[in-house]
């Protein structure tokens, strides 16, 4: 399959998977389970809502009956000079009509509330699940798809709850209620009318099956549209600088066009569905009129009963458009639920322990890697077997070429991943046994990425410790040398950082995220190229700050600058996941190992 679309996207592993029929069935079952679990807490209210509908349908069904009574009994009686029966029929009809209106109002309010509660519940579940899932999931699943799960997929469920639920119940009740009524009115004619329901049921089953498939297509394509959109808006600088706009527009045109095509297929199905349903309805009305008329002629049926028949049938086939919209939103929501339930059934690979072991208080910060083996997914091992002890309070620099496994060490220490074999311990406790909240208080990892959230500078620093007072925030900023530039901003610490911190320069963003880490006050601080974008004086200031703030903390620093490295107590040189050198920098510099070579190369570059 090499459409132009596939060509520019390139190849990745997940494309090689295909959905077969068995998987399709499993997916459907999975989303039904999810829907069940969402509705279960509201069963009582759902029952009340259904009760309201039943009463409402009774009021609705009474209408044509009363009209029939008015024509067959009331008018002849009135003709005979007795206006009473006709008056009763009219009053009855008015009461049924008003009751219908009030019941519908009550039902809509109740079902709307249930729908919103279900939606809120699902939003919370998905969002919390996303936060709970390990980084391994996020790197595989990617943010674009996470976003579409939480936005457009939930939208389609909202559409179903908004306009679908009552339509569904009503049509269900209509089938039962009207069917019974027709049989009560007249058995032979009722049977004729009911034969129309048989193709109707078959038709609905055909439609639901086919549209399920069509809507799976729309969910997949809308996710791709979202990914393209989000990526472009987040990388807008590069887009404009490299004149990618028109190429991007062409790609979006293609994606959006395929999405439109998927929608068109779904709409075509609806067209066939609704037209056929209407055809069935009209044919049964004609048949009922003909047969009923003949029976009126031979005197075995009353005229009023025939009128009621026609009214009932029309009422059943009438809100067709709403029924079609329900079927439409149901299929769309079912496809969305498949995707959502997939996320909800993922298990974090890094699990919070059921019975956590407490760390000593205060945490000393001694880190041990014991026989740690690790590789990403099914890829080659990154760390074949690492043994390492970082005594509490030591500042350790980790150096080595790209791909040596430095960041992996940092990620294992922050427990973004668990080792395949061996243990990472903090103060002698395996990280797998430390409660998530306690671990995050003790160990903080700062990466080069320095992601800022929308909000003020102070908000972003306070992320490190949400309960911190403003003075603590300022102190942390001052410690890393960020205070000066923050005060120079128009509203100081309360300045909005703009989207992704666009208001600040890259170096400033790094300082803010550095301050954030300090405010968190962890026993173990892991810096993965956290100062790479700072200029030399700022970095020097940050390094000086480090010297005071790192006192009493264990620090693992991955840095490319030898200035930072030389300030450490100890240097580790990593190559292909193996420690090749370990010692104080001044000793290593004078030695003959790889670090000495690195150092002299660096000296040469400065000269």
């Amino acid at each position: 399959m090499t459409t132009p679309e596939e060509q520019w996207r390139g190849v990745a592993t997940e494309d090689l998977e295909r959905i077969d029929t068995a998987t399709g069935l499993r997916l459907a079952a999975r989303s039904r389970r999810l829907l069940g679990s969402l509705l279960r807490p509201h069963l009582r209210r759902v029952a009340v809502a259904a009760g309201l509908l039943v009463v409402d349908q009774a009021a609705l069904l009474a209408g044509p009956l009363l009209i029939a009574a008015a024509i067959d009994r009331g008018i002849p009686a009135a003709l005979a000079g007795r206006p009473g029966p006709l008056a009763w029929c009219i009053v009855g009809y008015a009461v049924a009509g008003a009751g219908d209106a009030l019941l519908v109002r009550a039902f809509l309010r109740l079902s709307g509330r249930i729908g919103q509660d279900v939606l809120l519940d699902l939003r919370e579940r998905v969002f919390a699940q996303i936060q709970r899932l390990s980084l391994a999931f996020h790197e595989r699943y990617t943010s674009g798809r996470v976003i579409s799960r939480l936005t457009s997929d939930l939208d389609s469920l909202q559409d179903l709850l908004d306009e679908g639920l009552d339509g569904f119940f009503v049509s269900l009740l209509s089938i039962v209620g009207i069917g019974t009524m027709l049989l009560v009115l007249d058995v032979p004619l009722g049977l004729v009318a009911l034969t129309g329901f048989v193709p109707l049921v078959l038709l609905t089953r055909w439609y639901l099956r086919r549209s399920q498939h069509a809507y799976r297509g729309t969910r997949t394509w809308v996710a791709r549209v979202i990914v393209q959109f989000v990526e472009t808006m987040n990388g807008i600088r590069a887009v404009q600088a490299f004149r990618r706009e028109s190429r991007n527009s062409a790609l979006m045109d293609e994606l959006s066009g395929t999405f439109a095509e998927a929608n068109r297929v779904a709409l075509g199905l609806i067209a066939r569905f609704t037209a056929t349903v209407r055809l069935v309805g009209n044919v049964s009305i004609a048949a009922v009129l003909l047969l009923g008329g003949l029976r009126v002629l031979d005197g075995s049926l009353e005229l009023g009963a025939l009128a009621a028949f026609v009214l009932y049938l029309r009422r059943f086939y009438d809100p067709l458009d709403q029924l079609a919209m329900f079927a439409n939103s149901y299929s769309s929501a079912a496809a969305a639920l498949e995707k959502i339930s997939g996320v909800l059934e993922e298990h974090p690979t890094v699990v919070d322990p059921p019975r956590p072991r407490a760390l000593p208080s205060p945490v000393r910060g001694e880190v041990t890697f014991a026989g740690v083996r690790f590789g990403y997914g099914s890829g080659p091992p990154v760390l074949p077997g690492l043994d390492l002890v970082l005594p509490a309070g030591q500042t350790v620099a980790l150096v080595g070429p790209t791909g040596a496994g430095k960041s992996t060490v940092a990620r294992l220490l922050a427990r973004f991943y668990d080792p395949v074999a061996g243990e990472v311990r903090l103060d002698g406790v395996d990280l797998r046994w430390v409660a998530e909240a306690e671990l995050r208080r003790a160990v903080v990892l700062v990466t080069q990425e320095s992601f800022l959230f929308s909000g003020s500078v102070a908000d972003n620093i306070a992320l490190g410790s949400p309960s911190a007072a403003r003075t603590d925030v300022v102190e942390a900023a001052r410690a890393v040398g960020a205070d000066e530039f923050i005060r120079a901003l128009p509203e100081g610490y309360d300045t909005d950082v703009g989207k992704r911190g666009a208001r600040l320069s890259a170096g400033q963003r790094q300082l803010v995220s550095f301050a954030r880490a300090l405010l968190a006050d962890p026993a173990v601080l892991v810096l993965d190229e956290a100062t790479a974008l700072l200029d030399i004086p700022t970095e020097r200031a940050a390094a000086a700050a480090l010297r005071t703030v790192l006192a009493g903390r264990t620090a693992l620093i991955i840095a490319h600058r030898l200035s930072t490295v030389l300030a450490a107590d100890r240097v580790l040189v990593l190559a292909d996941g193996v420690l090749v050198e370990d010692g104080p920098p001044d000793e290593l510099v004078t030695g003959t190992g790889p670090f000495a070579a690195l150092h002299s190369a660096w000296r040469a570059a400065l000269a």
Partner: protein
């Protein structure tokens, strides 16, 4: 959200703005409307035939007439069904096309809006416009608009038929319609405001979702997942409250819309029944009237949600055009000038000033700098001194507040944007890779030049080797949706991109920041080769990068404070020395303050509060 509250437009005025998109497909939409109208008329004719049956063959005991009229009803029924299919089939293509075109146009427009716009607008608000709002509009066009027009027409035609058939009964129904229309109008306005609020809240929620997805590493690292979830929930609850207000409004409207026709039906039965009794009305006419009102029941009831959907669509359209109406302040000049060929690449900045909209002071306060053709000038300055801002001004990602920037003596604002940006290539400290193949990321769509050109660019950027080692080579998808690359690899690809573009002027923002010492030497060598033939402005933080340059310019206090060679500046300018002299004397720190030094004592009770 801090976006201004837009003035409340009437729904109709808002929807009128869909006109440019509807115009090309109006033929098919009209056809669909026509099909619907005829279908409706066929549907309405059925009760008239029923009346004929009751008053004719049934009253006169004429079985042949009954069969004939029943066949007529069947024919009408088949016609109605066929037209319903036609209507939907006609509408499927144009409406999905309108949605796709509106989305592409929005996307296209957004791509050309200046950075200032993008920094201000949360991308979730943009995304919700591009997806949920457009879905609402499509649904409006496909279902709602046609149903609305046709159902209103059905009601009108039905009323006329009623009045003609039985004037006194018809008048009764017309009387009912007056308060109904008034109530619907009033309700629609109120509902419109709430609908708009709900859509804005959806946009805010989308922003939160996006940040939580993109910032997941930070949230995880600090264990702030639960906190983010709480913040998200607060927003979701606010949205739920708005949605419940919508539900309440809608429920009230439904009640009115159901009650009025039902009560009218009761009145009709009363007046009609006694009229039949008095002999002033035939039974058939009464049955026909009742059947027609029953036929009108659905079109009348549907008005409730049709109006609600119309409000939603109007609010969505307003939101859409809010963004589309933002003017492209950075546009092609009205009378563009062309650069003389071949482009020499002389870059000059004259009295360049810049301040960010809404910011207190100027970032750049009169920058004068000349970069001669083929020369490489390094730009050095403290963090936040405006270096990155300056690099954004050259390819016109933002415009100078005053002063001017020229390439070969032509003001960049007088050049067509496409030409300017093909002459000036830029690479930023934060290399953005797109979720596409390596080839696409380097060539950025200019695939005509073939793989050899891509490979050559990769070779110059010292990226060929690792690309070859990727599972699918040049075809491997990288970026967010594909293979994760290291910082150094990303920067080399960004460099390859700039090389591939083959510009006359190259603007590099700290191109070596994410490289480790091993790779740095390699990329440096690559860069040296690239810089030989182009004019380059290179932002530098490190001595090694500075040494790639012929001259160095020091940016301080928004001006160029000094220009010279690296060694000159090092010798003469103290500020420069502070910025670029090697940081370390080579002596590692010796003292180890030991455990428990200055780290703040943990206060268990305070920590408990945080949890």
């Amino acid at each position: 959200m801090s976006l201004p509250d837009p003035p409340q437009h009437a729904s109709l005025a808002a929807l009128r703005r869909l006109a440019p998109y509807i115009r090309p497909v109006r033929g098919r939409l009209l056809g669909a409307g026509l099909a619907m109208l005829v279908a409706m008329l066929a549907g309405l004719a059925i009760p008239l035939l029923i009346q004929r049956i009751v008053d004719g063959p049934l009253a006169e005991a004429d079985p042949a007439g009954l069969v004939l009229l029943s066949a007529g009803i069947l024919a009408l029924g088949v016609t109605e069904a066929g037209l319903i299919y036609l209507r939907r089939a006609l509408v499927a293509r144009p409406t999905t096309e309108v949605e796709a075109r509106m989305r592409t146009d929005l996307y296209h427009h957004l791509q050309y809006l200046p950075m200032a716009f993008h920094d201000r607008w949360p991308s979730g608000q943009l995304l919700s416009r591009a997806v949920s709002d457009l879905t609402t509009i499509r649904r409006f066009l496909a279902f709602v608009s046609i149903l609305l027009v046709v159902n209103v027409l059905t009601v009108l035609v039905g009323l006329v038929v009623l009045v003609v058939l039985a004037p006194q009964l018809g008048l009764l129904v017309v009387l009912m319609a007056v308060p109904m229309v008034a109530l619907c109008r009033h309700h629609e306005q109120h509902y419109g405001r709430v609908a708009r609020r709900a859509q804005d809240q959806v946009g805010d929620l989308t922003t939160t979702v996006e940040e939580a997805a993109l910032g997941i590493r930070v949230l995880k690292s600090f264990g702030r997942g639960p906190r983010a979830t709480r913040a998200f929930l607060a927003q979701a609850r606010a949205l739920r409250r708005t949605e419940l207000t919508k539900v309440r409004l809608l429920a009230a409207l439904w009640a009115v819309i159901i009650a009025l026709p039902e009560l009218t039906m009761a009145a009709l039965l009363g007046v009609g029944g006694y009229a039949v009794a008095a002999g002033s009305l035939t039974l058939g006419t009464l049955v026909g009237t009742v059947t027609i009102l029953a036929y009108l029941r659905w079109p009348l009831e549907s008005l409730g949600w049709l109006l609600a959907e119309t409000s939603n669509a109007a609010a969505a359209t307003t939101r859409y055009w809010e963004v589309r109406d933002v003017r492209r302040t950075l546009a092609d000049p009205p009378r563009p000038r062309a650069l003389a060929r071949p482009v020499r690449g002389a870059l000059r900045l004259e009295g360049v000033r810049f301040h960010y909209p809404g910011a207190a002071g100027e970032v750049l306060r009169g920058v004068d700098l000349e970069v001669r053709p083929g020369e490489t000038v390094a730009l050095v300055g403290a963090t936040g001194s405006g270096k990155t801002t300056l690099t954004a001004l050259v390819p016109r990602l933002a415009d100078v507040t005053s002063g001017r920037i020229t390439v070969d003596d032509v003001d960049v604002r007088h050049l067509p944007l496409a030409e300017l940006r093909s002459v000036v290539a830029a690479a930023f400290e934060d290399p953005v890779l797109f979720s596409a193949s390596v080839r696409e990321n380097v060539a950025l769509g200019a695939l005509a030049s073939g793989d050899d050109a891509v490979r050559r660019a990769l070779r110059v950027a010292r990226a060929e080797q690792f690309v070859e080692a990727l599972p699918w080579g040049l075809d491997t998808r990288i970026g967010e949706q594909g293979l994760t690359l290291s910082g150094g690899q990303r920067q080399r690809l960004a460099l390859a991109r700039a090389v591939f573009a083959d510009p006359a002027v190259l603007v590099l923002d700290d191109p070596l920041s994410a490289l480790d010492v091993h790779t740095e030497a390699e990329v440096e060598a690559a860069l040296r080769q690239v810089l030989r033939d182009v004019t380059a402005l290179v932002v530098a933080h490190r001595p090694s990068t500075v040494q790639l340059a012929d001259r160095v310019a020091l940016l301080a206090d928004g001006r160029i404070a000094a220009v010279g060679t690296h060694s000159e500046l090092l010798a003469e300018v103290p500020e420069y020395r502070r910025l670029l002299s090697p940081a370390v004397d080579g002596s590692p720190r010796t003292a180890n303050p030991g455990v428990g030094g200055t780290r703040r004592a943990t206060n268990p009770s305070a920590e408990e509060v945080v949890r």
